[in-house]
């Protein structure tokens, strides 16, 4: 299971690598960035949101550690915390999208908008998928699934979660700050 998730992550890295290189190639060929009349990306709010997501990586880690120490209640509690932080991240992202659309940044308004929504949207889909997997794992954990020696599913889920968090760090640095 862990190996399968690692292989999946390998393919995902190449997928986002493709998107991000498209971002740089198209940006290099454009006259001004962001194009005239298009809003700048909300660096500060998203920065705080990034910290929230990084926090979820820590709670995830603590959840795995609690499972290794066979603390059933603590596992569930840390996983729930991770779930909540991940959902807050998605909610803030969503509200930022709504604000950006009000500032007339859409997929059709410019390549800038198209790239932004494609890359950030693809990441959001991954966060949503990771939340789905985590929901499943949390339910299993609350039934005591991972407090014995077998935490394969939990480890795999945590691995994917850490990947999604780390990936966001890269996207924030390259798309928002870069």
């Amino acid at each position: 299971m862990v190996l399968a998730v690692m292989a999946l992550i390998g393919a995902e890295v190449m997928f986002f690598g493709g998107l991000i290189s498209a971002f740089y190639i198209l940006r290099a060929g454009s006259f001004s960035w962001p194009p005239i009349g298009q809003p700048r990306l909300p660096i500060a709010v998203t920065g705080i949101n990034t910290l929230i997501l990084f926090g979820s990586a820590v709670t995830m880690r603590l959840g795995v550690r609690a499972a290794k120490r066979k603390r059933r209640v603590a596992v569930t509690r840390w996983l729930l915390a991770t779930l909540i932080l991940g959902s807050i991240f998605l909610a803030i992202q969503g509200s930022e999208w709504i604000r950006l659309i009000q500032y007339r940044l859409t997929v059709k308004s410019s390549l800038y908008g198209a790239l932004f929504y494609t890359i950030v949207g693809a990441h959001a889909v991954h966060v949503a998928g990771a939340i789905g997997a985590l929901l499943f794992v949390t339910c299993s954990a609350s039934r005591g699934r991972y407090s014995d020696s077998d935490h394969d599913g939990l480890t795999a889920c945590s691995l994917f979660w850490q990947f999604v968090v780390l990936l966001w760090g890269v996207i924030y640095a390259m798309v928002y700050l870069g």
Binding site: A11, E12, M14, F15, L19, K108, L115
Partner: protein, 575 residues
């Protein structure tokens, strides 16, 4: 989890007898059934691919005559035929045959496992694949016709300009589903090879086919991502009106070519490596000799996988990319022929001095190897930017890539079918029909593509609907006619295979466990193997290529054999 899986699997095996028709043959999680399903779909799609080949060739030989069975066609329909021919043959014939069929059937058996690591995901992958084939076939009758921008779907041809509004979008969805299927399959192959090997089956005792299937899967996983990213952007261009590839909106059509060929070149190896794996697996059995340079072949394969990720722009020498990029990509392209040359030499050295048995599987292996060498050597002229600029737009390219892909897909695939058919269905295929099939296929294949090399050197442009549009090439038209006649012969040559395939299922001689006296683990169980494969977990005690070991009682020592040859004789070159 693993313990639970073992218990549930044991329970499953007990109920295997009770499974109804649907669970046993249609919605099966058994890797052997899934392998056969992939084989069946790929052979069916090969008929569609063969029909498009016939229509294309007829149009090129006798453009005024109208295609029997299809009538006169428009230039757009011709482009659709070419597009669908390439797409079908690569994605819906070569991949399911070489990866889907033989990967699924052979990997667990060769590793001594009871099934894949994720049997239900495996079933999901074949059903996603089946759906993708349906979507693709449906696009033939879509309003506006099937996709017409080539199997490479170059932008801007594939962007909003195409008149195949539905067809191009369906093509994209079909390819996306196909990728999802092989992504799941690849992850499954990889996980199986690393977690399900039986006792004693070290990595350095794995049969070369398993190595090649794994290498191909890893390469597919690494190369497909950027193309999926590109396809998402293309789909957004088509459906949402973005302009990623539209220069009038600031986009860049060359971006697609980079993303496509980053995948497209490795894709050739995704197909070629399992084809080699099949050849490498069959060769020692019919030469009664150990494989030559087992580890060298594996290292060369790994080097080829790595290099294949940095050669893609050799497809773009004439696309208008920065000419300064041409030199580095020429160099990497010429370099990548080195590991393949090593593998080919290892194959020849394996055959050298062996007591060759020319049964049908071996004939296809040797015929495939000989043809592939022609493909490899002609590739050198295309890898070098200087000569490619002259040859790139001509039939030379068409002949070249058919000389690489046809041998691995069809010669390799057919070799695999004749070789593993007894294990799949419990009966032997007919040797006389098999040999007839080989010789007809081999001769007509050469007769189809040698004229096209000549037409290409003469300068005949490819991708042209009406050859008479260029009166300067009228003197080369007889070459086109020759190729077409041979293509029709090549398609007719497949009749013996069809007859053989179905009649042997009922009338073939019973195969027994090990008709070829081969060493790998699949030959130690019944044909066809029962659900769960091995009654008792096997133990691998040696590498799979101990043939004609000096001092041994027989000229083959199965991987499970305990007897050791007399002291002082070095047997296991690897492990």
């Amino acid at each position: 989890m693993s313990q639970a899986a073992v218990i549930s699997h044991a329970a499953y095996a007990e109920h295997a007898e009770a499974l109804g028709f649907w669970r046993k043959y249609v919605f099966s999680t058994d890797h052997k059934t899934i392998g056969k399903q992939y084989l069946g779909i790929s052979l069916f799609m090969a008929i569609a691919g063969g029909f498009t080949a016939y229509a294309i060739r007829w149009q090129l030989a006798w453009p005024a005559a109208g295609i029997p069975g299809l009538g006169a066609i428009t230039p757009h329909a011709y482009n659709s035929l070419v597009t669908m021919h390439g797409s079908i043959m690569v994605f819906w014939v070569a991949m399911p045959m070489l990866l889907g069929a033989f990967g699924n059937f052979c990997i667990p058996l060769m590793l001594g496992a009871d099934d894949m690591a994720f049997p239900r995901l495996n079933m999901l992958s074949v059903w996603i694949f089946f759906t993708s084939a349906l979507v693709l076939l449906a696009s033939f009758v879509a309003p506006g016709g099937a996709a017409a921008s080539g199997w490479t779907a170059y932008t801007p041809l594939s962007d909003t300009w195409t008149s195949a509004v539905w067809g191009q979008t369906m093509w994209l969805f079909a390819v996306a589903l196909e990728f999802a299927s092989f992504l799941i399959g690849g992850i499954n192959f990889l996980t199986t090879a690393f977690t399900r090997r039986c006792a004693g089956m070290t990595l350095w005792r794995m049969p070369l086919l398993v190595w090649d299937e794994i290498a191909a899967s890893v390469l597919f996983l690494l190369s497909v991502g950027p193309l999926v990213a590109g396809a998402v952007m293309l789909l957004m261009d088509r459906l949402l009106g973005t302009g990623f590839y539209d220069p009038s909106k600031g986009g860049d059509p060359l971006l697609w070519e980079h993303l496509f060929w980053f995948f497209g070149h490795p894709e050739v190896y995704v197909v070629a490596l399992p084809g080699f794996g099949i050849m490498l697996e069959i060769m020692p059995v019919f030469a009664r000799k150990p494989i030559f340079g087992y580890r060298t072949i594996i290292y060369s394969t790994i080097v080829a996988v790595g290099l294949s990720l940095i050669v893609w722009a050799h497809h773009m020498f004439v696309s208008g990319m920065d000419p300064r990029l041409a030199t580095p990509f020429s160099v990497t392209t010429i370099l990548i022929s080195v590991p393949f040359a090593i593998i080919v030499f290892a194959m020849i050295a394996t055959l050298w001095g062996g007591s060759l048995i020319f049964d049908t599987p071996m004939l296809f292996v040797i015929g495939g190897l000989a043809s592939f060498i022609v493909g490899g050597v002609t590739g050198i002229f295309l890898g070098s930017a200087a000569s490619d600029i002259y040859l790139h737009g001509t039939y030379f390219v068409v002949a070249h890539f058919h000389y690489t892909l046809f041998p691995v897909t069809f010669f390799g695939g057919y070799a695999g079918i004749y070789y593993w058919y007894p294990k799949m269905f419990g009966r032997m295929m007919d040797e006389r029909l098999g040999k007839l099939h080989f010789w007809l296929t081999f001769v007509f294949f050469q007769a189809t593509f040698i004229p096209l090399f000549l037409a290409g050197i003469g300068g005949t442009p490819r991708r042209v609907f009406m050859p008479s549009a260029y009166p300067s090439f009228a003197s080369l038209q007889p070459l086109q006619v020759m190729a077409t006649v041979a293509t029709i012969g090549l398609i007719a040559s497949q009749i013996p295979l069809v007859v053989n395939f179905f009649s042997s299922m009922f009338r073939g001689a019973l195969a027994g466990r090990n008709p070829w006296r081969a060493n790998t683990l699949e030959w130690t169980v019944d044909s066809p193997p029962p659900h769960g494969n091995f009654p008792d977990p096997p133990v691998a005690r040696r590498w799979p290529y101990d043939y004609s070991v000096p001092g041994a009682a027989s000229d083959w020592l199965p991987q499970v054999a305990e007897t050791n040859p007399p002291a002082g004789i070095k047997v296991q070159r690897a492990s």
